[in-house]
């Protein structure tokens, strides 16, 4: 694919054809720049990729749902015209070992009735909670589109943006201020404890606070991530999540389409050996095999470990910057299991097919279950009873599996990158078994249905997708690695100590997920530098 005749010189080279790299390239090209995207794998998309791993079944291999894809990107790149179509993902179904279940839907009234069944008090509280969270989300959301200020330099525009936020904060009610403070610092469970009494409700809600982190539901700092669920925005609707028709790879392909239309060249199976630096400036890249491509600007969408420790020659960067980079934490904590099924799984708690299978299905039966899963990971084991978030996208999008057959896509946590004993190559199957066994406790017919099983451990995510240590967000979303501290203090504004070398991936503000925001914001910053003559 993409066999475009190549010229040898570009304004910018983008390392990595994931959704952020592609978004970045598209914005640069639309501003008239000549851009080349280099992707190591044969397919584009990075972790937002659809692959036919098993004939007839198109897995969203890694990332499997969309929520935070920035509306401005959808609009500005005109993604629907390039084939983007988001299908609704409605509700979260949580089966319980007792045979009962909790089923939350986007229809607020129905969810309220469902929660009432568990606790009348909680149904009451759910209204208030939803309203409070939506308020918070509205307050916090502008941060996602904001270039972080640098607290250590005289950054006037940065500070005036912060100051404006401060003023908005002051105008909130005391209760809202209090809620925001708690959201920013507390644990998901501590926060939910203040609102609800139903254990399963707290467990399943808190789960969204730990996804992709090496934290437990009781770890401070996890409450903030709850908010992300309320920031998910598709066509302007708060809180909606969705599938992309054709799998998450279709998002990447739509962005790639927009990029190519704007003139971006894309080359796959092009692995970067080294970023060339001369007198403190980037001058291009060297590919594996020795090919060199020149450009005054290189934007890396891969993580800082890979970028600065592997692709830049030792001796170019100073020691204190490098030690900050080394400190940047990428500990992966999750795996993925994709199953091709002969039919639909039947949950004991709600037998038969139904709308509950069209949303997310969450194995998060109690707060203690979640916390114990984390305990194992802390000491270097994968959870034998993990938290699992799964979807059956083939119900909503029949194009991805043969008629009557289905795909079950399972996000699994915890699977620590560093195992205390053994290796992931030895434990891959045991991990897959733990996941299948766990689900089978709730859906006993599952094992009979499995036609094909793909198990991705953190090691696989690293080897195949270049996600260092298997971290799906290219670095933990913990407070000390967010906003003006992401990826390292002093370098949160997409630039690096090497002139012309930019970062544009999930390791920069505002972080991971199929959001596109890092790719876009970094492109806008880079374009500013060009305009001011700061790069050649």
């Amino acid at each position: 694919m993409m066999a475009v005749p190549m010229s040898r010189s570009y304004d910018a080279i983008v390392i990595g054809g994931g959704h952020n790299g592609l978004t970045h390239a598209a914005y640069l090209a639309r501003a008239g720049r000549k851009v080349l995207v280099l992707e190591r794998r044969p397919v584009l998309g990075g972790a937002a990729v659809t692959e036919e791993v098993y004939p007839g079944y198109k897995y969203s291999v890694c990332s499997y749902v969309v929520s935070l894809l920035r509306p401005e990107i959808i609009r500005e790149l005109d993604l629907p015209r390039h084939g983007l179509e988001i299908l609704p993902l409605d509700g979260t179904f949580t089966p319980m070992p007792s045979g009962d279940y909790l089923w939350r839907m986007s229809d607020h009234a129905r969810t309220r009735r469902e929660i009432y069944r568990h606790s009348p008090l909680d149904a009451e509280a759910y209204d208030e909670y939803s309203k409070a969270m939506a308020d918070m989300a509205r307050f916090v959301k502008p941060i996602l589109s904001m270039v972080p200020p640098d607290p250590l330099s005289f950054d006037v525009p940065g500070f005036s943006r912060l100051f404006a936020m401060g003023r908005r904060f002051q105008r909130l009610s005391r209760t809202a201020q209090h809620n925001i403070l708690q959201l920013m610092t507390m644990s998901a469970v501590d926060l939910l404890d203040q609102w609800f009494e139903t254990d399963v409700l707290k467990a399943t809600m808190s789960a969204s606070g730990i996804i992709g982190t090496f934290l437990g539901v009781r770890s401070p700092g996890t409450a903030y991530v709850l908010l992300h669920h309320y920031m998910g925005e598709i066509d302007g609707v708060f809180r909606s999540w969705g599938f992309s028709r054709g799998g998450t790879g279709a998002i990447s392909m739509a962005i790639a389409g927009a990029a190519q239309e704007a003139g971006v060249e894309i080359r796959t199976q092009a692995s970067i050996e080294r970023i060339k630096v001369k007198d403190g400036h980037t001058v291009g890249v060297v590919l594996e095999g020795g090919d060199e491509i020149d450009a005054p600007v290189v934007s890396s969408s891969v993580d800082p470990h890979r970028t600065f420790l592997k692709m830049v020659e030792p001796g170019v960067l100073d020691g204190s910057f490098l030690s900050e980079v080394r400190r940047y934490k990428l500990r992966g904590s999750s795996g993925k299991v994709n199953l091709a099924l002969d039919g639909l799984p039947e949950f004991t708690a709600m037998p038969g097919p139904g709308a509950h299978l069209r949303g997310a299905i969450s194995i998060s039966p109690s707060v203690e279950y979640m916390e114990r899963a984390y305990d194992q990971a802390k000491y270097g084991e994968f959870s034998t009873h993990p938290y699992i978030d799964m979807v059956i996208p083939s119900l909503t999008d029949p194009s991805i599996a043969p008629p009557g057959k289905h795909i079950l896509s399972c996000f699994v946590q915890y699977a620590p990158y560093k195992l205390r004993e053994g290796t992931w190559d030895e434990k891959r199957d045991a991990f897959g078994d733990a996941v299948v066994n766990t689900i089978a406790q709730y859906a006993p017919n599952l094992k009979k249905l499995i036609l094909h099983r793909q198990v991705l451990t953190p090691l696989d995510l690293e080897r195949e997708w270049g996600l260092t240590e298997g971290n799906i967000f290219q670095g933990e979303l913990s407070l000390e690695q967010l906003f003006f501290l992401r990826p390292v203090p002093g370098w949160a504004r997409y630039r690096s100590p090497i002139r012309g070398l930019y970062l544009c991936g999930s390791a920069t503000h505002p972080g991971g997920g199929i959001m596109g925001a890092p790719g876009r914001l970094s492109a806008l910053e880079l374009l500013k530098d060009w305009k001011r003559g700061k790069v050649a």
Binding site: Q170, H178, L181, S219, P220, S320, K378, S478
Partner: protein, 524 residues
């Protein structure tokens, strides 16, 4: 004579407030429920002939301005900064000692790990610099969230300049470290388990969190700021136990004209037309005053001593959610001789804090037990043996070992503290046996103070030693609640001066010193 100000609780903060207010020209009256003043800073005889600082056993240390303004050095207080400041015995004998002098520490660490020895001086320097900066924050009254620019604008500008003055590296560290898990912080600096464990111990001390909990580094930084920022932490004690402090503070308070009444239980804070007018004692006696200052914890002050009807329901909800559940116990041991640490650790090494907890996992596992409402099977311990340098506390040749035990959650999942008290004593001795085999046979008596005792006897609601979790959302201008961070609650005439206000727990006098400044500004 009618007092100007009634102070609820004769803990060390209540006494500091009383002394400073009296010194500032007001007439304070301190009302203490118990027969002794001092609150959690007391010396009590727990076995005939054996006295211990039964609850807190180390000073915060005290804020220097409090010591100077109240002339405490000339009131017979014997401050002892024990050396080494901390000693961590190892189960296989030997151990690691950290001294006030960083050079000496680094020199001795070299035997254990040249790498850690190389890192130590920079650790000490950086921590000291950041602590010195944070210390400036501790003495300030937090800003008013509605009008942050009101007040001592110069101090804020000074803080801003000070932040830049830290230099890029330390300033970045401060930003990054605050929300971090102390386990990560420790491994950024040190490679040996024992050094990491010592650092983690400081991070989790007094918190309901393990070393992998985010925000535990902030706890360590706050402690460092309270002390001198030394890489080894501080280990300041008093001759005669911490109870001596109460004596000296009472003397200072009385000399300046304050009155102190013990055995006086405040039953209710009187409110008239939305304004606090005084207090009502158990038994019905009413005492009117221009202002009431509570040294009691926020939950007691607002949920028990006040009629909830006078508060905004939203505030009541926020108070109920204020996290104030204790996690620690105290075990005081009367010993017939020194504990026999393996490898014949010299008694000279045992004069400061004795840290028990081998590695990060050990401390985290101790927390795991507590997370599910259980008593740690192998708790994190911080012990002192004050009789090594203070012979007034025990008969000649015999010793007192004061052991802080974490985690023992206030809310047990099974059973009650009435029936499970002994388990804490047993878990403590079992853990100590690993390091000092045979110690149990030397125990003449043991006193166990559980979180429930802290609540019942010492009035710490929820058994929380710091009047509420020192978590990021309950600090600074949000301590105890956002909007109440300036020592004033929602009712005119009511002030707070206890550990539930900025800068929080520890025997420092800090909250009271800040509160007294605000009260004097309002009333004088």
């Amino acid at each position: 004579m009618k007092p100007d100000v009634v102070i609820i609780g004769g803990g060390h903060n209540g006494l500091v407030a009383a002394a400073l207010l009296a010194r500032g020209g007001l007439k304070p009256l301190v009302l203490e429920r118990r027969d002794v003043v001092g609150g959690a800073a007391v010396t009590e005889e727990f076995h005939p002939g054996f006295k211990a600082s039964t609850v807190a056993h180390l000073l915060g240390p005290l804020r220097r301005s409090v010591v100077e303004e109240l002339d405490l050095k000339n009131r017979g207080l014997g401050f002892v900064e024990a050396e080494p400041r901390v000693f961590a015995p190892r189960p296989d004998g030997g151990g690691v000692a950290l001294w006030g002098d960083a050079g000496k520490t680094a020199f001795e660490l070299r035997k254990l790990s040249p790498e850690d020895a190389d890192r130590y001086p920079e650790f000490h320097r950086s921590l000291s610099a950041i602590a010195a900066y944070l210390a400036r924050l501790l003495v300030l009254t937090p800003p008013d969230i509605d009008e942050p620019l009101k007040g001592p604008i110069l101090s804020w500008l000074g803080l801003g300049m000070g932040f830049r003055g830290l230099g890029r590296e330390d300033a970045q560290r401060l930003l990054r470290w605050g929300p971090m898990a102390v386990a990560d912080f420790a491994s950024e600096w040190f490679s040996t388990d024992v050094m990491r464990a010592i650092v983690c111990g400081r991070g989790i001390h007094g918190l309901f969190g393990g070393p992998w909990s985010a925000g535990t580094t902030a706890n360590l930084l706050l402690q460092a700021a309270t002390g001198d920022g030394n890489g080894a932490g501080s280990a300041v004690q008093l001759v005669g136990g911490l109870g001596s402090l109460a004596g000296a503070l009472s003397a200072a308070a009385r000399q300046h004209g304050a009155e102190i009444r013990t055995g006086a239980t405040v039953e209710r804070i009187a409110v008239q037309d939305g304004r606090v007018t005084g207090v009502v004692l158990a038994g019905g006696e009413e005492i009117a005053a221009r202002a009431v200052v509570s040294g009691a914890d926020p939950k007691r002050t607002f949920l028990e001593l006040l009629d909830p009807a006078v508060l905004d329901p939203d505030d009541v909800r926020r108070l109920r959610n204020y996290r104030q559940q204790g996690m620690a116990s105290k075990v005081n041991l009367a010993l017939d001789s020194l504990p026999p640490f393996r490898g014949d650790a010299s008694p000279d090494l045992l004069r400061g804090r004795i840290h028990i907890g081998d590695d990060v996992d050990d401390l985290e596992r101790a927390f795991d037990d507590a997370k599910y409402g259980g008593i740690s099977r192998k708790p994190y311990l911080e012990a002192t043996i004050p009789t090594l340098w203070d012979t007034t506390l025990a008969p000649a040749g015999q010793h007192v070992m004061s052991v802080y035990v974490q985690f023992t959650p206030y809310a047990l999942r099974e059973g009650s503290w009435e029936t499970r008290r002994d388990e804490v004593g047993e878990a403590t001795l079992r853990t100590l046996e690993t390091y000092a085999p045979g110690i149990s046979r030397r125990v003449l008596a043991r006193q166990v103070i559980t979180p429930l005792d802290l609540e019942r006897t010492y009035g710490l609601t929820g058994g929380h030693p710091a009047h509420g979790e020192m978590a990021l959302d309950q600090l600074f201008l949000a301590r105890p609640l956002l909007g109440w961070g300036r020592y004033r609650g929602p009712l005119p005439g009511l002030y707070m001066c206890g550990a539930g206000t900025h800068p929080g727990g520890g025997v420092t006098g800090g909250p009271a010193a800040n509160a007294a400044r605000e009260i004097l500004a309002d009333l004088r």
